[in-house]
Symmetry: D2
Subunit: 461 residues, 4 copies
């Protein structure tokens, strides 16, 4: 039978279509353990404050733990007519704890209850994601250490620009995902605030002790304004924003792995375990995981837009629109966790084709900047050197040669400063090792960056 | 045992995490009946073209129909290792049709197969939505007919502006949802294009007859370019766009119902069957359905952003990112259908508080424009009349009176043109009935609009 | 001096900050010519209906034309205190036409006036865009004709899949941009509706003839509901949606041009006139135009989100939020026009590297499907053939050979059906020419597609 | 004459259309002072490191300051052919500083230069916004202090729920905007990182001292990876995310002010200086500022979507797409600053209609919860009390009375526990003052909240 906690004043029964439409049980049932955790703390606090008896609190706790077990063993029954997980649990609690159960909802409302549940959920999930990111950062560092000395073309505009170390390239992603992790950490300060006891919107007349509830649930802080508490969804918007930025990073590395896996680049081979084939083309080995991750970026952006749109222009305090916050939140959490997990598995399973990477640094006038730099060391202003080298490149192109394949005599047509020593500047190794400015690609720099990364990870574990 | 249609060249097994990550079966199983319908047509065409035997075609059809039954009776088994609905069905078909089954995938690929399935699905769902909208338009017309003669303040900036008929107000929504319906109809032209036979991306070497397949599946047109066919998701983006605009309309009417349900406006009462209460406040009767619809607007916008983002910058032809197109599409379809359905039920169950509506037209200087218009009829330029009335309003405000509560003597302080006849202009009825410009709120106009609406619906049924 | 058309009842002056904040003149001044065109029609109609005299109408028209000239010659003065372009023009008209000017605003309001102006603007711009797209389609067809017979690898997952003709590849974009054009055409039906005379929201009491106004302004249809007319922004949302889909297409072709311009692919060279260089790397020739177009995709998506968000949940009828509709609309119009224009110029200036394209079709097991198809012609079920070829590919890979470089003897290890004739199947030319299914890449098909495209363009010019 | 820093290798001139299309000068000219500031620091550092002479550094600094003056006095000339602000300044510097000017671009690239400029810009603007928010928080606190004791209905679902203090209601916004401020502060950590010296993407071969540059420009930190440095736009995405959440808050308070300004609510009157009127309806006084702010929410969401979309899937390192980051960033900065500014001015200029607010707390069964709470204090379980009160409300409704207008005898029909004392519970004052749970609406709580807010603002000033 349906248990509506609010039907005292209603003459007509809820339309069945409406029951299904307004029900959120399919989505919010994932909150069950947080709902139970929060209710136990609330009930303990009330007993301590003599709002309910110790016996009531005990029956409530036992009943809730029984329900938890029922849910986890699959024997719990769901129904649209009970609207949401909170009502499901409370309704079932009456079976287990009788009249004690009916006292549980004293001094609180569904509005602050759901706010608490979602905060408990998101605190937990954010911590999991932070841990995942940390171990993914570790995977990136290890990849970089393993491939510390492999030169590859660095690209801008997808054009070969200057040679870099593959390890340097990968450590750029270390920086990105590290920032993501720090953003998630910053956001936790705003998740970690205890809203229960704000009741419907105005606080409660019962002599509750919100600091005690907070202590029992391990919250460092209690929310300061009851109307804000029940209608604040900032932490969901903030989480989705940070996740979106993190997915931008995943979309970028995925794009690179896909391009690098092409026959034309042929820089890497992703292991069979992390690729799939084609139903019609027997030769295909597709970088599907990277593609799906790239595609899921859209999903997370979409979830951000969903939550922003739904919160726009809602007057205080709680409005039912807010029920729609959970689908995009849960989907973003699940998506992000899955993406980090597959990447942690895939990255170490990538085979690097060193030779092709190296070759990318010797063809395509990638040493043009270094020729210009050489002329500058001989006294030519940079802008002039740039122009001289531009003309040299045009000439070399017309001869179908690289700069380092021209003769000194040919080079002297463009500048008298050209000489034999120039050629030493133009090797891949020299170009990499001379970029010793802090943050640059010289091997020693990259090693320093890796050391600092390892210290950072140790300090944050 | 896992059946991978592509593992001939693979040495290693797919990682379990990857199997779960790349699997789309949870989502695309909703396509089963379209997949079966398409496969039967493909097989019939191949038999006609002597690519397979009639016996093969018969076994295939029988096997597929058996699978359909298995799925619909719940006896079909799903597994992540079979990736998607297409593989599930094909794998199971081998059990039912043996070697014949293995010939089904001749002359096609998963790329064009999934394009076909989604088009069949969306054609069907779009037609359902068009029908729903049509009957919702009917509900709006009936609501307007029922309340043809109820004056209510028309608002701009949520300020009382000029009196209108409630029926005129509601017929504005007729216009909006009618445009939505027409946009959906226009979009069908681009959904209704048959892609099968484009194969992986280049067409096929088999002597297939795509026009025949199209005929069997009731498509008026065959896609013209195989590379476009397998990577075109325009119709999904277009559907989501139109749905987003439609949700804007639902968010607007919902906002109005919510405001009208407030104690302050108290213009309407939504029946118990379409409202819910509060777990803590026994008096509450909340317009939850309208709120949830308004909230779901965010979801549909989010889905649009998801599909646009995921398609951005994908090179030709098929990329695995595209697998992510189905979640936002299915969710938008389901959301939109649910919103129309609850609105169809709710609108006729709204009780209109005529008196409050009428009162809103007599207080708040809502007849100011008409006083200005009166002065214009007496020869004053409009801009001057506007200014005179503005000053009159200020004076009346200071006396705590409405314009029609001032004396002619008081009015003459502002303009000599004021006289007794003016007051007849300032009644609610006069203000409404004199707005006879085409599309204006005079009763006769609204009746005409309703007549035209009924003719339109009849012509389009 | 400031001219506020509404300050009769106001005691205090508008705050300067507020004047700047609420002013839209910087944006909506681009509407000046449509505002003048609409006002002339409105004034002519009023004269015809004897609402104003012919002399008034003449003064108004002359005054407005004078203002048009002032604006176009730069002598017109703007001021934030006049709020918007409508007030600027009306205020200035008083200087030119005296009391006649004050009669112009009879029977209309700024609400329907701005709706008219934006519709006139968007009708014009949409037609321009349709023309631009048409000539861009022509450019694509000419490009395809010019490069009718160049084989290149067709890609899925950015992996070489099957050979196609470059012309076939480009004709996929013909299909996409053709759909865009048709969507724009469909949308015009909903732009091309005349709203003037809806007045503030309820229609007007003046004896106006809206059909005549429509005729003067070349509108086939008059809006049917005054409340809808002043608050309908569907056509802006629809335009932005279609533009977003069109930008998806531009982002896709841009991504391809960028990848094809890389040293690794080296399929094309964009002419100097359509590329730029680097301030530091003298060798660089960057596909900037394609990159910026790809980047501008974000801008158009953003504009769509802006307009959808701002319309969400607005009650009827006009709300000032709607003023914010013009920035995203104008920006999308300008962005889209610029993108089409540069692409029209750039595409014919692309040099195709035939040899590299051809080579992409001979390496990378791109003929694997055709070997499978061959085995099917000899009686093997497709799924079995796929698996056999998969194993053959693995073997060839281990020998560092392509399939067509294996001996018949080696092939027979995998299937007895392999023989000498197989090799003829595996040439680029054979693979392309055998894909004769409608819409496939065989040269004759592409020629047909080009013919049809030319007929289509002729019929639509 | 055009000055292209990169045209050495180009044979053809840039197409004029392309020059206009790729030029960003209209947008990035706003960065001029940051560009000059950064260049002066770079040049000083180079002199210190003996890369250029002290004389060169002096000429460069003098030349740059002269350019700054030219720009600020309007004598500087702009041209599309110079692409961006960096080239404009560098080109002009040659006029002022001759050969010294040509040395300025040593050891850096436009890629790291623009990253520096945008970081300097955003650091400055974020600090301004933080200051604005701080003084807006002050405005909110003062508003709450001024209206400390005004009861008003607290709403959920826009239905009267329980009485609260207006000051309590407004302090909810204090919490929201305070969180925004803290998010902006957190984000500064990630803006405040010095990228210069990362050069094109790989670092530079010159002996630069990036720590010195950082010190001169007051950056606490130097970026750690050159490839990340030139392609990191996280800080722009993060800023836009935080701004979007902040705009959600502005949209909510705007919605409330608009609803409260309606004739039906009539809770507030916004002063003439912050409202505008209607061109056709002389009585209108519209809450335009609140409406435009609400509308601008869409703009900021759109900008967020723009920047997320454009960054999606970009491979390392710099790509020209990134040029499109500035339009949405600048627009969001300008929009947010304008919204805070008008709100700071408007809020103190709102007149509160105390009587109407008070009346909202006495009608509409707003004391139903408190009746239930009373029954609970007498021993009834909450859920039962809720049901009893629900039935009482139904009965009262049928009598057209409020609960406190029923007799004890009538009440006893529903529960024997009803008695005279109940009525004391049901007054507005009692309901407010008994909500003493921390964060609840009792006056003492709100005073505490205000005290804490003032301490917070003092500590953060």
């Amino acid at each position: 039978m349906s248990y509506k906690p609010w039907d005292g004043r209603f003459a007509e029964k809820t339309d069945a279509l409406v029951e299904a439409f307004t029900s959120s049980i399919d989505v919010d049932k994932h909150l069950y353990k947080y709902d139970i955790e929060g209710s136990i703390a609330h009930s303990k606090m009330m007993a301590k404050q003599n709002i309910i008896s110790n016996e009531d609190a005990k029956s409530i706790e036992e009943g809730l733990l029984k329900i938890k077990e029922e849910i986890e063993t699959g024997s719990f029954e769901y129904s649209d007519s009970l609207e949401d997980i909170h009502m499901h649990i409370e309704s079932r609690l009456v079976d287990h704890a009788g009249d004690s159960a009916k006292k549980l909802h004293t001094g609180r409302s569904r509005n602050d209850q759901v706010a608490l549940d979602v905060r408990l959920y998101l605190r937990n999930e954010t911590n999991i994601i932070i841990d995942q990111l940390k171990s993914f950062l570790d995977v990136i560092v290890n990849f970089s250490k393993k491939h510390i000395d492999i030169p590859v073309a660095g690209y801008t505009h997808l054009q070969r620009a200057q040679p870099v170390l593959l390890s340097h390239h990968m450590m750029a992603y270390f920086e990105m995902f590290k920032r993501d992790m720090e953003r998630f950490k910053d956001s936790l300060k705003r998740v970690n605030v205890m809203p229960l006891g704000s009741a419907a919107l105005a606080g409660t007349t019962y002599n509750i002790d919100r600091e005690l509830t907070a202590e029992l649930l391990n919250f460092p802080e209690v929310s300061k304004n009851s109307m804000d508490s029940v209608s604040d969804r900032d932490f969901i918007m903030e989480f989705n924003s940070i996740a979106s930025i993190c997915m931008v990073h995943f979309s970028r590395i995925s794009e690179e792995l896909i391009i690098w896996s092409s026959s034309e680049f042929n820089f890497i081979e992703i292991s069979d375990a992390f690729t799939t084939g084609s139903s019609i083309m027997p030769q295909k080995k597709n970088p599907d995981v990277a593609e799906i991750v790239r595609g899921k970026t859209g999903r997370v952006f979409g979830n951000l837009m969903t939550i922003l749109t739904l919160m726009k222009s809602l007057p205080l305090a709680y409005n039912r629109d807010m029920q729609e916050d959970k689908t995009p939140l849960f989907d973003t959490v699940d998506t992000l966790k899955a993406c980090i997990a597959v990447y942690k598995g895939m990255l170490p399973n990538i085979k690097v084709n060193k030779e092709n990477m190296y070759n990318s640094t010797t063809v395509g006038f990638i040493n043009a900047t270094d020729m210009a730099d050489y002329l500058v060391t001989k006294g030519m202003p940079f802008r002039e050197a740039h122009s001289v080298v531009g003309k040299t490149v045009s000439f070399a192109l017309s001869k179908n040669k690289e700069i380092h394949e021209l003769t000194v005599k040919e080079l002297k047509e463009f500048t008298e400063l050209a000489d034999e020593k120039l050629f030493k500047f133009l090797t891949t190794e020299s170009m990499i090792e001379r970029r010793i400015s802090s943050g640059g690609t010289a091997t020693s720099n990259v090693k320093t960056a890796i050391d600092e990364a390892e210290s950072y990870l140790k300090a944050n574990s």
